[in-house]
Amino acid sequence: MLITVTVNGTERTDEVEPRLLLVQYLRDVLGLTGTHIGCDTSSCGACTVLVDGEAAKSCTILAVQVDGGTVRTIEDLAGPDGALDVVQEGFRQEHGLQCGYCTPGMVMASTALLAETPHPTDDEIREALEGNLCRCTGYTSIVASVRWAAEHADGRSPGAGSADGPAS
């Protein structure tokens, strides 16, 4: 089946199998390996991306379901010179990552949260990230990272470091 999707600001048209998951499309067809797979029950959130601006676990969606839509992945956040956006920088400043495997999903879920709730409470951050599992950090530093990003957003929308701007 032929699908057209805007991924990280670029329109893509591909022939895909109907059973292909969005995460497989991103990783195997488009080579966007920043989105990770950590489970097979939609429990871990490592594959979280933005679909039409909202956080979604890309293992729960078929590629054909995003036909005509927009998808943003971790690769789209930093500026063209590689400069980290404010959410990524928050994770760095507050040590919100160790092994890095859950990190792209965490950052995308946090990006979605901050787009909707620019100044979340710690409880709101924890609730928003409940579906994203991290085995390294104990989450405390992740909550601090999101708080850092909220405090340093300076009116910029999270993810605005991208040359293409927010996709939604």
Partner: protein, 764 residues
């Protein structure tokens, strides 16, 4: 000012944050041109716990679309070595693919190689296996006396043990003796990245096999692969690319990984295996899984005189490291207490379950959980406050080095101070007052306060723990570290750069850290057991110091002064001498003019282990109507010696505490009576999430150890050792006034509710 001890953000973060990391599943021909045309490996695994294989037919699978090959044990030309180094005799082996018999659900039975993963999965469904069922062996107590033996040639399901039964007079002179059976449940390491590997045969420079794998120990995997294939070690190159967590679960080469390499050779193509989470929950060796019978005795005024710990360890189906981990449990049985008479006997048994091995803490959390439950049971029996009883029995601060009854010699510490700091930070007396008020008011949400003191062992169990480091400084003045310690989240690139900068003055961004590649790093052990900084960091410290000494020699010639007069400014990385003021030479000049490669290697060998320690206090609330326990506060004092980077240390503490709390409240690998796994994915195994964990309150404490140049002990596992008993004790404490004396791990709502029902019934 030294950079050591300061909060430095990690230099490894930006590429991880940009999605540029390369984990095994991401590798393609851009990483190595030979990875074109990867074949995909899928395993057929046992669906039953214990059976002989009556028939195994791969004919239909071979005909399936995209299939390159299907192989079983009969096809293998690899010899499996005896388990436990031959302790059970030469015939007790763990076959790489099942050899006519399966002993746990998930054991590899056959392997399919296909053009795509999907085709491999489809074909694996077509492999026909007819099992003749045998009795499963489930539960350590049942396994000891079971008629069914996993290895009849060995003659028993008991495979190893340490220590002896309690002497008859152990509890002589005790006013009070308390005995209890407690369970330290089975856990899954569950790194968010499951296992995976890529194998390529043939290449340049005499390397026959190149093997990318998600591992904590690249050099160990290299040696094992070489031995299995009968190759020289140099003929195998192992590369750990980015590794998505390990926690002990990726410490050695597994059968399915070896088979991936074998298959690649057999089909003459590069091959990749990436395990699914459902495979991973059965495949990555589990941790913990001990049953304890403890006995503690002492005087009515709270002095503990004697303690015995009886340990039964579940080693799983094929005894591995897990069979030996009770050695650590026994070594650390006495904990932080000065007890005159201590004995501990351990026995490890095989059962028809996934093998057990190291998981964060590895034998020490079990020891801490036992002694800390014992102290609370004893405190309750003599009707004294648990903090008071602990204070009464802690090893005094002036008693170090202190040798325990089971043979550990604690290097240094101050246990009373650790407890005092935790008590103060928690506001312990106020908490007890609040608890009393709420109990008096009949609050249905009961408040509980739990205390745990702990000491653990890192870089042990004895002397002779090794790690390798090489430092090279190039003619442009930049430095490269080659470390045998293999990072997967611990921040080596940052910490190692800090050490080099501190000693040389070379800026951190001009220090490159290379690890996890056996072709680039000539020797190594790896990252596990909280050993990296104290062993690997010390190796780098020594190598760097040697190179600085050479730098001084060369600079003295350049400046035309005595060596003794040369000073290295570690802020700017320049050498100068007072008598030639105004002149200074940098590393670039020194290296260029030395006329030889500027490199030094050092293998650090420990003379003694280190013993990190601390005290944790947990506050919980338990809904007495539903049994649900909620952690409200966790105050942690963790002393791991001198701290190199507080940012990284705090990360390790929070992460360890999360896993410790998870053991206390949430996580448990369960099997039914037939040996069917009940927790084989992340929907059924409740990996702890943001909602079950408050932010732990970290209290600083730093007692440098004299046994290495950095003064550092290990911090990676402390949280799993201190937090679990603190939280468990808190949950028991919350419902103690309702008649509950003990709750096994994890303290789930179901378990607490049942205990409350039982207590209510007994109260009549």
């Amino acid at each position: 000012m030294s950079v050591l001890g300061t909060r430095v953000v990690r230099k490894e973060d930006p590429r991880l944050l940009r999605g540029e990391a390369r984990y095994v599943a991401d590798l393609d021909e851009t990483d190595d041109p030979r990875l074109v045309g990867l074949a995909h490996v899928v395993f057929v695994r046992s669906t039953v716990a214990h059976a002989t294989i009556a028939e195994l037919d791969v004919a239909e699978a071979l005909e399936a679309p995209g299939v390159i090959g299907v192989y079983t044990h009969a096809d293998l030309d690899l010899e499996a070595p005896p388990v436990m180094g031959g302790m059970l005799g030469p015939d007790v082996v763990r076959p790489f693919l099942a050899d006519g018999r399966v002993r746990y659900v998930g054991e590899p039975v056959a392997v399919v190689v296909a053009e795509s993963v999907a085709e491999g999965v489809d074909a694996a469904e077509l492999v026909f296996v007819d099992y003749d069922l045998l009795e499963p062996v489930i539960g350590v107590e049942a396994a000891v006396d079971a008629d069914t033996l996993l290895f009849p040639a060995h003659g028993s399901n008991v495979v190893s043990g340490f220590g002896a039964e309690a002497p008859d007079d152990l509890f002589d002179g005790c006013d009070v003796v308390v005995r209890h059976r407690i369970v330290n449940q089975r856990l899954a390491p569950a790194p968010i990245e499951p296992r995976g590997c890529v194998a390529v045969w043939g290449g340049d420079d005499g390397v026959e096999l190149t093997f990318w794998t998600s591992t904590q120990t690249a050099h160990g995997v290299r040696s094992t692969l070489a031995d299995r294939f009968g190759l020289e070690h140099d003929a195998v190159r192992v590369i750990a690319p980015d590794v998505g967590g390990g926690f002990g679960g990726k410490m050695h080469l597994y059968p399915d990984e070896l088979i991936t390499a074998w298959v690649a050779r057999r089909v003459g193509r590069p091959a990749r295996w990436i395990e699914t989470r459902s495979e991973s929950m059965l495949g990555i060796h589990h941790g913990r899984d001990q049953v304890h019978e403890l006995a503690i005795g002492g005087t009515r005024d709270g002095r503990v005189l004697a303690y015995h710990l009886e340990v039964l360890q579940d080693a799983g189906a094929y005894p591995d490291i897990g069979a030996f981990l009770p050695y650590f449990t026994r070594l650390m049985a006495q904990g932080t207490y000065d007890i005159a008479r201590v004995s501990c006997r351990t026995r490890s048994v095989v059962t028809t379950t996934t093998p057990t091995a190291a998981y964060r803490g590895a034998g020490r959390p079990e020891a801490a959980a036992a002694i800390e439950r014992a102290m609370d049971l004893f405190a309750a029996a003599v009707d004294l406050d648990p903090v008071k009883v602990r204070r009464r029995n802690l090893i005094p601060a002036d008693a170090f080095p202190y040798t325990t009854q089971t043979g550990a010699t604690y290097d240094c510490g101050n246990y009373p101070r650790a407890l005092a700091l935790a008590v103060e930070a928690a506001g312990y007396d106020d908490l007890r007052d609040e608890q009393a008020r709420r109990r008096a008011a009949g609050d249905p949400v009961a408040m509980g306060i739990g205390v745990a003191c702990y000491v653990e062992i890192t870089a042990g169990p004895g002397a002779g723990e090794k790690e390798f480091a090489r430092l090279t400084i190039d003619p442009d003045g930049s430095a490269t570290v080659f470390t045998g310690s293999s990072a997967h989240g611990q921040g080596h690139a940052t910490a190692w750069s800090m050490i080099v900068h501190d000693l040389t003055g070379i800026p951190m961004d001009r220090v490159e850290v290379v690890h996890g590649d056996t072709a680039k790093v000539e020797a190594g052990v790896g990252t596990y057991g909280s050993r990296s900084l104290q062993v690997g960091g010390s190796a780098l410290h020594r190598a760097t110091s040697h190179l600085v000494a050479r730098g001084v020699e060369v600079a003295a010639k350049l400046l035309d002064v005595d060596e003794a007069e040369v000073a290295l400014d570690t802020e700017t990385g320049t050498f100068s001498a007072e008598s030639v003021s105004g002149e200074a030479v940098g590393w670039d000049e020194v290296v260029r003019l030395s006329g030889e490669p500027f490199t030094e290697a050092h293998e650090f060998v420990t003379e003694t282990p280190t013993y990190p320690f601390g005290a944790h206090i947990a506050v919980v609330e338990v809904d007495t109507e539903t049994g649900q326990a909620r952690l409200v506060r966790l105050v942690a004092v963790d002393d791991a010696g001198r701290i190199l980077n507080p940012l990284i240390v705090e990360g390790q503490r929070h992460g360890g505490i999360a896993q410790g709390v998870a053991q206390a409240l949430v996580e448990e690998v369960r099997y039914d009576a037939d040996g069917n796994p009940q927790t084989a994915n992340l929907a059924d195994y409740g990996l702890i999430s943001t909602m079950e964990l408050p932010a732990a309150e970290l209290v600083p404490m730093e007692t440098p150890t004299p046994v290495n140049p950095l003064g550092a002990k290990g911090i990676g596992e402390s949280g799993t050792i201190g937090a679990t008993p603190a939280v468990q004790n808190a949950v028991v404490d919350a419902v103690a006034h309702l008649g509950v004396r003990h709750l096994d791990l994890p303290c789930t709502a179901e378990r607490v509710w049942h205990a409350l029902e039982l207590a209510r019934a007994e109260a009549g």
